[in-house]
């Protein structure tokens, strides 16, 4: 194991003073930035087959009353290592089901998930997950929560202590190391969850509405943090959200899903995530493309919702 390299300048997350003016963020090569949490092994590998592919995924399950639900139908998608995908869609479009299948908590009825050339059959440390809330272990201190992944692997405490210190610096919680998680605010808890996920050095980070329960201000700060972490670590990230704004800001690629059956409705490639790295997210929102894209997606989702409502009313 190599020692974790020192962070890039300006990365220390010192309680959100991150508005570094009009500093333009340039995306640099993936490997050089993959430094958080001793991510040495992966960076030396051949990257040609690295990435996540979702192949012809279908999910259909029976209900106790004999009928069945088609949660997903024929969803295919390829993500290269280091890509940031946000997923949007009305309720019941299968976003969370998709994420649970990628995480390995559910087995699809058809299709498969392939990560870095091997098929996924269950949960594994290579795919970390950040939940909306309630996933921290409240019987552990902040430090023990972050250390959980390395501990489970049997990493010596001296080694994991360095990773923990480093990551708590990154998320700005160094002073809260000894606190119990229930003593922290909601935003701080989500930062712990992020650090805990990163401590395990996963290839893919799955986020299930990680900022959904936060207030608007904290949420904006956390969005900047997610962008920073993405850029610095070069992780592949799939982020599920209900907020169109968040999906636009945090999606290098944006997937709009449609319900019944859950399927991919439209995919976008967006510049905003790259622009937002190290910059003021409010400035990003002033980009001429931002508002039209937002309106387009909002309309799309509205129409889907109306369609669902109409269908329900017809049935009634």
């Amino acid at each position: 194991m190599t020692k974790p390299a020192p962070l890039d300048v300006g990365f220390v997350f010192n309680d959100f003073p991150m508005r570094t003016g009009g500093k333009t963020a340039v995306r640099r090569g993936g490997d050089a930035q993959r430094q958080i949490g001793t991510m040495s092994v992966t960076s030396e590998k051949d990257t040609s087959d690295r990435g996540l592919s979702i192949e012809n995924l279908s999910m259909r399950f029976d209900l106790p009353n004999g009928s069945h639900v088609q949660a997903l139908k024929d969803v295919s998608l390829d993500l290269k290592q280091g890509e940031l995908l946000s997923v949007l869609g009305p309720s019941g479009c299968g976003k969370t089901t998709l994420l649970n299948i990628v995480a390995g908590f559910l087995a699809p009825t058809e299709g498969r998930i392939v990560l870095n050339g091997h098929q996924v059959f269950g949960p594994d440390a290579e795919r970390g997950m950040v939940f909306q809330q309630g996933a921290l272990f409240e019987w552990m201190s902040v430090r023990d929560n972050v250390r959980f992944g390395p501990d489970m692997k049997g990493m010596p405490k001296s080694e994991s202590a360095e990773i923990v210190d480093h990551l708590l610096d990154v998320v700005g919680l160094q002073d809260f190391k000894e606190k119990m998680v229930y003593e922290l605010s909601g935003g701080m808890q989500q930062r712990v969850a992020l650090a805990r996920c990163l401590a395990n050095d996963p290839d893919v980070i799955l986020m299930d509405e990680p900022l959904g329960a936060l207030d608007a201000l904290t949420r904006e700060k956390m969005q900047s943090l997610v962008l920073k972490l993405w850029k610095e670590t070069g992780k592949t990230i799939i982020l599920i959200t209900h907020s169109v704004e968040e999906a636009l800001l945090l999606g290098e690629r944006l997937l709009v899903m449609a319900p019944r059956p859950g399927r991919i409705h439209k995919e976008y490639r967006l510049p905003f995530a790259d622009m937002g790295v190290g910059a003021d997210l409010r400035e990003v929102k002033k980009h001429p493309d931002y508002a039209p894209t937002r309106e387009e997606i909002l309309n799309m989702i509205w129409n889907m919702e109306e369609e669902i409502m109409g269908r329900t009313e017809e049935n009634a």
């Binding site: 908590f105 997950m129 996933a135 272990f137």
Partner: protein, 445 residues
């Protein structure tokens, strides 16, 4: 069936009548509380008008957070219980003016009027001496008087009554057809008693007089001993023991049974609960057993346990084991079922194995529930052990009070009840303290 309803209806009416009879006393007690509350508020307002956040709230009725247990009320409540206890037992701890009227003690006289068969009437005086229990006073001497009825002397113990065979020294007798027609000038017959101010005089079927000194409002020692006599008993029993068994021995036996029974119940119940929470097969297997045994009160098992295991330690421990087992199993089961699935998912995606998830997620997550169950189980065990000892035991605090009740040693019975209450409360406090110390995250998820 109709007979049962009629009987139960009768019981209900008797009950309602005694409830109505108790109402004045309850009203008196509530009145005392309201008076104390009124005085307290007045004094407090005079002394210092507080302006903390709660006192500035305009809505306090229905605001749970504005209702805080008033320390002064608790102190007054406890003091009042002892004052009432002392007042109605003539306790020496209380100043005399707080005592409820006691039984009549001392000398007094009443007269009776005899009518002989020939219609001749005569009066005689009865010199009554009422003395406290345990005293042997000298009987007063009756004055010699003329006439067919002679004066009598009557020595009675307080709270008791005594027959006066008035014709023992009279010139006319019951056999001779004489009978008493009045006491203190008031006519008396078999259905009409006469109140003579310091007691009650009744005419018996045989024509003698029955005198009962007035009891006052205080309770006799045999019903309710004074606080200090309970305290003295506590000292004497803890030093010399009761029926050759010391208090420490009684208490240790009871506590030993509770602790061993509870420990065994937890040692089996917790793993059983985990198995039921983690495996379909175990859930299916034990659900019918647990769900059936849970509502069976452990006290109902006492006869069976005595038949099977006798009245020794084994039987008691089996009983307490059964009392704790189901509670602990259900607590552990719901602790496991209550784990938030996102925590388990998170642990899996952090690379934890099943064993690690059990050790680091499921067990700590279920601890608060297990502690709650343990508190309930300890309470039930304590109640069950006392009841089991009441039924059959050689030693134990329950055995002590049931033995004392047979000899009407009410002070020991009261002392035992108070000790049982204090120990039960102590166990609960200990469990709460342990819970606060060991699972500080309870209710914080």
């Amino acid at each position: 069936m109709g007979q049962i309803f009629a009987d139960l209806g009768g019981e209900l009416i008797t009950l309602l009548i005694s409830v109505v009879g108790a109402l004045p006393y309850v009203a008196l007690y509530v009145g005392l509380i309201l008076l104390a509350s009124f005085l307290y508020t007045q004094v407090k307002q005079r002394l210092a008008a507080t302006q903390d956040y709660t006192s500035l709230k305009t809505v306090t009725f229905g605001d749970e957070s504005a209702v805080i247990s008033n320390k002064a009320a608790s102190v007054i409540s406890i003091v009042l219980i002892f004052v009432i206890w002392g007042a109605f037992t003539g306790s020496s701890l209380l100043p005399k003016f707080l005592h409820a009227p006691g039984p009549f003690v001392g000398e007094a006289t009443f007269t009776y009027t005899v009518e002989a068969e020939d219609g001749q009437k005569a009066d005689a005086t009865v010199n009554v001496l009422v003395h406290k229990a345990g005293e042997k006073p000298e009987a007063p001497v009756a004055a010699e008087n003329d006439g067919i009825a002679k004066d009598d002397v009557l020595v009675v113990q307080a709270y008791r009554s005594k027959l006066l065979r008035w014709d023992a020294n009279d010139e006319v007798t019951r056999k001779g057809g004489a009978k008493i027609i009045a006491v203190d000038g008031q006519p008396i017959d078999r259905d009409t008693d006469v109140q003579v101010g310091f007691g009650r005089v009744a005419l018996t079927d045989k024509g003698t007089l029955n005198f009962e000194p007035s009891k006052g409002w205080q309770m006799e020692n045999i019903w309710l001993p004074a606080p200090e006599s309970v305290w003295k008993r506590l000292i004497s029993v803890s030093q010399d023991g009761y029926q050759n068994v010391t208090l420490a021995e009684h208490l240790s036996y009871s506590l030993f049974r509770v602790i061993v029974g509870f420990a065994l119940g937890a040692a089996v119940g917790i793993p059983l609960g985990y198995a039921m929470g983690l495996s379909n097969w175990f859930r299916g297997w034990f659900d019918p057993i647990v769900e059936f045994m849970r509502p069976v009160p452990p006290l109902a098992l006492i006869p069976l346990v005595i038949i099977w295991a006798g009245i020794g330690e084994q039987g008691k421990i089996i009983l307490l084991f059964l009392a704790a087992l189901w509670i602990m199993a259900i607590g552990a089961r719901s602790g496991v079922s209550g784990v938030n699935i996102t925590k388990v998912h998170a642990a899996y995606s952090l690379g934890a194995s099943k064993k690690q998830i059990l050790r680091h997620v499921i067990i700590p997550n279920s601890l608060p529930e297990i502690f709650t169950a343990a508190r309930v189980a300890m309470g039930v065990c304590w109640g069950t052990v006392v009841a089991a000892e009441l039924v059959a035991a050689e030693k134990g605090v329950g055995k002590m009070i049931v033995a004392a009740s047979k000899f009407q040693d009410t002070d020991i019975v009261l002392m035992g009840i108070i000790l049982i209450g204090i120990i039960g409360f102590g166990i609960d406090m200990l469990m709460r303290w342990a819970e606060k110390y060991l699972v500080p995250w309870k209710g914080r998820a």
